[in-house]
Amino acid sequence: MSTSADLGKDLLGLEELTTAQIQLLLDVSEPFKEISLRSIKKVPTLRGATVVNLFFEASTRTRLSFEFAEKRLSADAVNVASSGSSVSKGETLVDTARNLEAMKIDMVVVRHGSSGAARFLAQRIESNVINAGDGMHEHPTQGLLDLLTLRDHFKRLAGLRVCICGDVLHSRVARSNIWGLRKMGAEVALCGPRSLLPNAVEEMGVTVFRRIEEAIEWADALNILRLQLERMQGGYIPSLREYNRVFGVTRDKLERAPRDVLIMHPGPMNRGVEIDSDVADGPHSVILDQVTNGVAVRMAVLYLLAGGNPALAEAAKG
């Protein structure tokens, strides 16, 4: 399949994209939003293209979102999970991919527990590779859907103040958000226990708040990361209860903010840990809009990597 000069062969992360490329991805996502609102949610844009969703880690939202995007563009989508495939027999990542490629596929959407796995794959196969999350590195389509959701709400990204809260150390969502937001001219801050923030993260051009109250006072939007429960066993924090007390986003803390603060969360949520239910379901939450936008963003990514002309995205809806 030909590749778009505008985006290159693969989408591996937001770090290597230019501002113009991110802008293009967000703009091309716009016309694709409408397809999912139709009663017949399908256009023939990617008819005949074969896309493999290669998921080495558990995923519900991201895998389904990609699958909907692929199916609504009429691509043939195949799911491969690590359990029940040759991966569980010890086949290497590259052998798995080469075997898929020998069956003549066009694109691979890959999620893998190791940072760098998507790039490793992209350098070794001809097909377009889309990173659906690699270890603690990047999750570029999540970053893009977060940007799109912020832009929908604020009508701009430049100058916006966004604080990413929680376990940044282990979060690929955080890294994609930091790059995407900074390239689009937003101000980025982080807030969480220092044991869950990477050392030297300030060198990535972000501000660090020690207290969630300070972050709330500063921010236009909070992107609240999932606290992975195994972190407590890992000794990074003493207890979930204390985490909720000190770093949890609660209505009580938000009510003291000088302005309305937009609430985002990449899911899956731990209600009562990093976010309280009345915040997650509250009037400023756009958590489900993020999920809706995810499908449109992934359609745009598939369309552009398949060589689609950005100018024809509106017409491509068919």
Binding site: G116, M136, A200, E203
Partner: protein, 251 residues
């Protein structure tokens, strides 16, 4: 055996404080001349003459820290391939670390390496024995037996000696045999799961970093234990500025 004449090389030999352009003559396997250019050399038997213009001629190098992987990982390296690679690169002697499978922690295992090296007939191979049985960090391996079989040092390389008490005992016990105790300096709880140096690059790449302190904590521990015991400690693969400063202080 053919005689060998190396012409016009840059002869570097730090042990004799030599750095000149000249000739080296080897007759019957013995170095007969080093230094000033020789005129016509006539010998009975073969004489191989090599033009070394622009090349460095030096004594063989010694690599005190290599992994020959045999026994256990012959798919990666064998004593033969390692000894040949060493010779091809100018190394005439290498020390083989004991983190093989099974671990080189007894005289029979040391003897095996010596015999394989003799068969390889390339660079000389000096085995290093393990500090602890199975490199498990619990009981001392039999240093004396291993030295008797040809080992030249002890190390649990591949793993740190996590227990300060074991390291202390190893340094004390090694004094009898006058051998160095080589430590892989990595504080295991700080280094666990790490893939690279900790810093902004590890933050960017989403890889678990290893802080400098993981190395430096073990460096200072070993220096202090060497001072206490009078043992000879060898600190492997130093990589941080702080370690260098600590070693300077220790010396």
């Amino acid at each position: 055996m053919p005689h060998l004449l190396l012409r016009r090389g840059r002869i570097v030999d730090p042990s004799s404080n030599l750095d000149v352009v000249g000739d080296v003559l080897v007759t019957d396997g013995i170095i007969a001349h080093v230094g000033a250019p020789l005129g016509d050399v006539r010998r009975d038997g073969d004489l191989v003459e090599i033009d070394c213009t622009g090349q460095v001629v030096s004594p063989g190098f010694v690599d005190v820290h290599c992994h020959l992987r045999e026994p256990g990982r012959e798919d990666v390296e064998t004593i033969t391939t390692g000894a040949r690679a060493a010779a091809a690169g100018g190394f005439t002697a290498v020390c083989a670390m004991p983190n093989t499978d099974p671990v080189t922690d007894n005289q029979a295992a040391v003897g095996f390496i010596i015999r394989q090296a003799q068969r390889a007939a390339a660079a000389r191979v000096y085995p290093i024995g393990a500090i602890s049985v199975g490199q498990r960090g619990e009981a001392l391996a039999e240093f004396g037996e291993m030295i008797g079989a040809g080992a030249v040092a002890v190390s649990d390389d591949g793993k740190p000696v996590a227990s300060a008490q074991l390291m202390r005992t190893a340094l004390e016990y090694a004094r009898t045999f006058e051998i160095p105790v080589a430590d892989h300096c990595e504080e295991p709880t700080l280094a666990a799961g790490g893939a690279m140096n900790e810093g902004v690059v590890s933050a960017r790449l989403g890889l678990k970093g290893i802080p400098d302190e993981a190395e430096e904590i073990m460096v200072i521990r070993d220096i202090l234990l060497a001072r206490r015991t009078g043992g000879h400690v060898h600190l492997c693969h130093m990589s941080t500025k702080g370690s260098v400063e600590l070693i300077r202080w220790g010396k």
